[in-house]
Amino acid sequence: MSNPILDVQNLRVRFETHHGVVRAVDGVSFQLHEGETLGLVGESGSGKSVTNLALMGLVPQPPGVVEADKMSFEGRDLLSLSDRELRSVRGNDISMIFQDPMTSLNPLLTIGRQLTEVLEVHKKVTRREARQICADGLDDVGIPLPKKRLDQYPHELSGGMRQRVMIAMGLLCKPKVLLADEPTTALDVTIQAQILELMKRLQETHGTAIILVTHDLGVVAGMSDRVNVMYAGKLVETADAGPLFEQPRHPYTKGLLASVPRLTGDPNAELDSIPGSPPDLAALPPGCSFAPRCGLKTDQCTTHTPTLEELPTRATSRSSACFENARLTDTLIADTLDYGDRPQGGSFA
């Protein structure tokens, strides 16, 4: 396979707070290739956004501390870049669609000012050209009257429109890597489909690699090549999208998939959820972080920490961090089921 565009080995991010050290990301490794979409799912508070912020060099330091054995973009070490070099990468080569549009947009500046600024920093364009490009960008994300919207302030837009402004901003410079953190949560399904389609088009024409963080497993299913599952700062499972949904291996992934509300089935039944509450990252239990909520735990689980291990499947590579892997593998059917080709445009149109 070609060289990865992003290569992350053993990424650790901790926050040193008054209440102790919060290990938000705890030894995460993954690679991302050109044109690939990596889904990132997991418990709320498991470190998905912080992982992306670390890639952007945007973790607040202090209280944050970012360390990694390796964190490179196109072979360049991101951790050793100067502020200036980082600024030229950020927003241009790697851009991020932030989870919270309201805190990431400046309430005092018009939408137009904020969008054109991005272009003026990274590309040589005149004011006028910049305005036109930005209006087109808003049009692409389905915002009516784009020219008028450029002169409005964030509070004058609906929640979903603000989110789409963030998306337009993330796509303006046609980045090589797009970190999309919950890009479509505030959007209705028809506009969501339109946005996902737009991201796919960008991927096809520019080979953009995408990390897609989302709680919507339907979106993950439709968009991702591979999926990483996080729990309490660690990757607990990684697999190609098809096999993951077909046969989740890690008990957390199983619980997650079982919690998805569906359009079929008894609407009056209580929704399944994973019992117990998420762990306190400042005081993790010894052993497997999921053990207190896991139905399969054994004594070993509360004393030793499982590592992410490759599972013996024929077709695809997949790993899970669970001591019960050996027991579960007996039942693992060969992951050779045919998922067909990746959707080519169309399916989200």
Partner: protein, 321 residues
């Protein structure tokens, strides 16, 4: 219990002219009517920007309505002054769409949750902290985290603080503006189950704004579908999901992604053609007609000239015939 009649909210847009008149009016909410019974959950769904949040905010008096009425237990509440509204403020709570903007960054979670109890004199100072911890526990957060500040929580955790704050005053009606969209599905399930449990215990009513139709199907008794400032279809949950009438509702239903790659990648969708129309210049006739795939079934040019009224159920010439 709650009765909204012909509610309008228009925002001035553009520079004011010589006489101080705004250039244009944006019709964010353009004649919305519905009612809500005690113990009932009404879903409000629709395209981004169609006026759902504005409807909610106007209902609770955050925006003065342009016209129309909002009655709570028979009393008009939309035109009240701040002090006149006080007794209703405890009974009607709102969970905001944007948890970041609605939590004071300088207050700890303890004071965010205790503040409303203090204002409404609902608990003794010593009890307040205990109550705050109970609330955190109820929404699946660690009670020991009450001395933390909002920025120390993740997106989904902050959303749950908003839910806990709304529950603090034990209201009768909660307006939930996308209360679970930032949560992972397992915690979403916990919060949804919690909302349902509270409803059963205290006879709470909810106005539930959401984009996730599977969640809406789960929690709502009735559902209203909005398009460009108007309700285009309103029906009981089962009627709406099993037999959607309005072409927009059908398109919405068909666009729901499915959490199984095999199904998701081969699924049939109704593609909405055309641009999202502008609320400044809504299309003539049926507001949905430029994007409607069924208008050829209606004779002549009625769809583009005559506005279909919301009858029993769906504002579409097809179902009115």
């Amino acid at each position: 219990m709650l009765e909204v009649t012909d509610l309008h909210k228009h925002f001035p847009i553009g520079k004011k002219g010589l006489l101080g008149k705004p250039a244009k009016w944006l019709h964010a909410v353009d004649g919305v009517s519905f009612s809500l019974e005690k113990g009932e959950t009404l879903g409000l769904v629709g395209e981004s920007g169609c006026g759902k949040s504005t409807t909610a905010r106007t209902m609770i008096g955050l925006y003065p309505p342009t016209s129309g009425s909002v009655k709570f237990e028979g009393e008009e509440i939309s035109h009240l002054s701040r002090s006149e509204r006080a007794p209703f403020r405890r009974r009607i709570q709102m969970i905001f769409q944007d948890p970041y903007a609605s939590l004071d960054p300088r207050q700890t979670v303890a004071s965010i949750l205790a503040e409303p109890l203090k204002i409404h004199r609902l608990a003794k100072p010593r009890e307040r902290k205990l109550r705050a911890m109970q609330l955190l526990d109820a929404v699946g957060l660690n009670p020991r985290h009450i001395h933390r500040f909002p920025h120390e929580f993740s997106g989904g955790q902050r959303q749950r603080i908003g839910v806990a704050r709304a529950l603090a005053l034990e209201p009768d009606l909660i307006i939930c503006d996308e209360p679970v969209s930032a949560l992972d599905v397992s915690i979403q399930a916990q919060v949804v189950n919690l909302l349902e449990e509270l409803q059963e215990r205290f006879g709470l009513s909810y106005l539930f704004i959401a984009h996730d139709l599977a969640v809406v199907r789960h929690i709502c008794d009735r559902v209203a579908v909005m398009y460009l400032g108007k309700i285009v279809e309103i029906a009981t949950r089962d009627e709406l999901f099993e037999n959607p009438q309005h072409p927009y509702t059908k398109a919405l239903m068909s666009a729901v992604p499915h959490p199984d790659p095999k199904i998701e990648r081969t699924r049939e969708r109704i593609v909405l053609e055309g641009d999202v129309p502008s609320p400044l210049e809504p299309p003539t006739g049926c507001r949905f007609h430029p994007r409607c795939v069924e208008r050829h079934k209606v004779e002549g040019d009625r769809c583009s000239t005559v506005e279909p009224q919301l009858g029993e159920r769906s504002a579409c010439h097809l179902s009115l015939d």
